[in-house]
Each structure stands twice: as C-alpha cells, then as structure tokens.
Subunit: 236 residues, 2 copies
C-alpha cells in the first residue's frame, strides 16, 4: 500500500479558496468592504463558517480589518511593496544559500522553467505567473524548513495580490524564462555567493518592474505631478 496522503477540503477551506480567487481576479477590488452576512448569503453557508474563512485570509494578508469593523481588501502602499519585496528577497536569498550549500536542485523548479520556455510570447500572463509561483514554491519546499515555508506562504499571497494590481500586461515569457534559467544555473553551479547574487538580481528586477508599473499608473492618473503620494491608502 502506497501511503498517498489524499486531500479533502473542508467547507471553510472551499470558501476561503473561492474568496481569494475572487480577490485575485478582481471581483473584489482594493478598498472593497465585505460583510459577513453578505458573504454568508452568497455562499449559502452559516456566518460562523464565513468568519473562519475570513480568519484564514486575514493571515494570508489579502483581507484586513479592525475590531468590530467589516473586512476589506487591502490597497498596498509603496511602503508595503517595499517591505514585501525586502522580506521576499531575504527569504529567497536564504533559500538559495541553503540549496546551494546542500547541492539540492529541486525537480519542480526545473519543470517550471521548462514550462516557461515552452510558452510563446503571446501566452496568457496568468499562466506565466503560475509557473513563476511554482518555481519559487519548489525552491522553498526543497529547503525542508517548515518555518521558512510558512513564512513564504504568508507573503506570497500578498505578493500575488500586489502583482494583480501593479502589473502591466507586458510580461515577456522569454525574458522571464531566461531569468529563471540563469537563477537555476547559478544554484546548480554550487557557488553559493553567485547563487545568492543571482537571486538578489532576479528579485530586484522583479521589484523595479513593479515600481515602473506603479509610476506609470500614477502618471496616467496624475499627469504632470511627480512622485506624489497618490493611491496609497487615502481611501480606506
């Protein structure tokens, strides 16, 4: 008998999953307020179930609330983005270091890069992001550190939400594939400092890309003015 741990999803998990999908897909947008009764009716589950699901998303950082207030979809400030990328860089650089020093080259990451390389430049952005997630996920898991994984999970949701709103459609699959391939090669090389450096570069490229998008959006909405404090959290 092969002990294949099979997965079941509880009701709250299902609700939480659907809800986060809705948030990532823009059904609910930053600033939107979600009341428990409303959600309870929508999913036709008791309010307590909704509450449990909400708690999960609160931990994932894709919902927020203050006491006795309804939850809302967060709008990330520039500080949030900075913070997010800073800790992500920290975690991923450590991951690179660990994998390198142990000579681990996770299969899942290799597969993810291959999938990227197969994508033509006209493919959907969503699919590309999926492989990107798969890539980094595989690296983290390969470290075997439960705490690192837990932490990464808690920021990756925020990361995804941030990307949802701060990305222009013009991702280039070929460039993306190349970057990840280089990163993976650096790990394979066994040169720890080179791998860490490659990781740092990879993440910083991703960050500048997001920043460019942010400024472009800002420019579109506020032509003329530079570096004003615009979307931030003026409307919460």
């Amino acid at each position: 008998m092969s002990t294949h741990k099979l997965r079941t999803v509880s009701v709250v998990e299902a609700v939480a999953e659907q809800l986060s999908e809705d948030i990532f897909n823009g059904i609910y947008r930053p600033g939107d307020v979600l009341t428990e009764t409303q959600l309870s009716e929508r999913f036709d589950v008791p309010r307590q179930t909704i509450r449990s699901a909400i708690v999960m998303l609160l931990h994932d950082g894709i919902l927020r609330r203050e006491r006795n207030k309804s939850v809302y979809v967060p709008l990330f400030s520039e500080d949030d983005i900075r913070d997010l990328f800073a800790v992500r860089r920290l975690v991923e650089m450590e991951t690179a270091r660990i994998l390198c020093s142990r000579g681990i080259l996770p299969e899942g990451a290799e597969n993810a890069v291959r999938s990227m390389e197969r994508l033509s430049d006209e493919n959907s952005c969503d699919e590309l992001l999926k492989y990107d997630y798969q890539f980094h996920q595989a690296l983290i898991e390969a470290t075997g550190s439960t705490r690192l994984q837990k932490f990464y999970r808690s920021i990756s949701s925020e990361m995804r939400l941030a990307l949802t709103y701060f990305r222009s459609g013009d991702f280039s699959p070929s460039q993306m594939a190349r970057e990840h391939r280089e990163f993976l090669d650096a790990i394979r090389s066994g040169d720890s400092s080179a791998a860490v450096k490659a990781c740092q570069i990879h993440i910083e490229e991703s960050e500048t890309f997001v920043n460019q998008t942010i400024h472009a959006q800002r420019e579109r909405m506020n032509p003329g003015r530079m570096a004003a404090s615009m979307p931030d959290e003026a409307d919460l």
Copy 2:
C-alpha cells in the same frame, strides 16, 4: 488630545492568552491532547469561542492538529529546534543590519538590557526570559517592517515553548546581560557587519545552550547511549 490607542481584549483573545500561558507554564505539556468540550467547560464559554482561540494558537505554533482530530501540544524534535534557530538567526541578523544601516537604537532594547543588569544572579529565570523577549521584540519593531514582525511573532511563541522544556534553571543573568549589552553596542557602533556578526554569535550561543540542555536531559533519561533519537515525537 493625545491619540493613545487603547487596547481591548475580546473573549477569544482572553481565552487564547490564558491557554498559551497554561501551555508555557506547563499546565499542559507536550503531547497533551485538548478537546474542545473540555476547554469549553473549563472556561465556561461556548465551543465556537474555543475553536476561534485554538485557531490563533495553531498559527502561533504552540498547538497542532490534523483534520478531525483534537489539538495537542507539540513536542519539538531536534529538527524543529534547528529550524527554529536557523530562521530566528536569519530574521535577527537582518534586523541588526537594518537598524545599523539606519542608525536606529531602540529605546525599549536599552531599557530591557538595563533591567537585566539590575537583576542579581538569584532572580527568577522567568523574569530574565521576559526581558530577553522584550529586548528582541523592541529590535524587530524598530525595523518598521510589518512582515518581519509578523514572522518573528510566529516563531517567538514556538521559541518560548521550546525554551520552556529545554532549559535548565541555570541561566546566568549577568552573562545574559553582558551578551545583550555587547550586541546593542555593536549596533550602536554603526558597523553593520560587526553588528550582524554579534547577532549571529548571540543567537548561536543561545542555541548551543539549548542543545547542551537537550543532550543533558537525554543523558539523564538514557544513560550510556549517545545521540539516540529519543524524545523526538515517539509519543504523539
């Protein structure tokens, strides 16, 4: 009018707090199983409230469960301890780097060290640990990184639980104070790499101390045998 954000505690928070205190104080010991009805009766609050409180402690890592099973107090394996210290080192070294580069010297940390220095060597271990926590907490908070703080919070509970079971009583307040003082001085110096190094040393000293305690305990229970896989999770 000074906007002093005042704190209220909800029922579930109160339960969660009491419960974690009980765990830290050894009322509930590693391996102990807690059923919801039992807790519900004990605190005289409905089961739903207990469930919510449990979720909080699950996230803090001081309770665990599998689906449809009762929660239990985790017993940390050697791998857990290793992992815990590894990520803690990662976070605290990054903290040191940040504070140093920004020239921040948190007041709370200074106060905590002073408190340690006031303790005579006969003082209670609990109090010492409290200041230790206060010290590191102050450092993390001063970084201003919400994510780093969240991460630290999620491991500090586990850390405390681990210390609860893997510490001999012979902490030396004077040594403890000295170590922290050195660490703080390193940050004050502004030399980033020196501060990071000091941090690393401080944490590794703490880790070796715990490891010694573990081995001592093991030796007591298993005289003769070396490095056997003993307490680990044989009894869950």
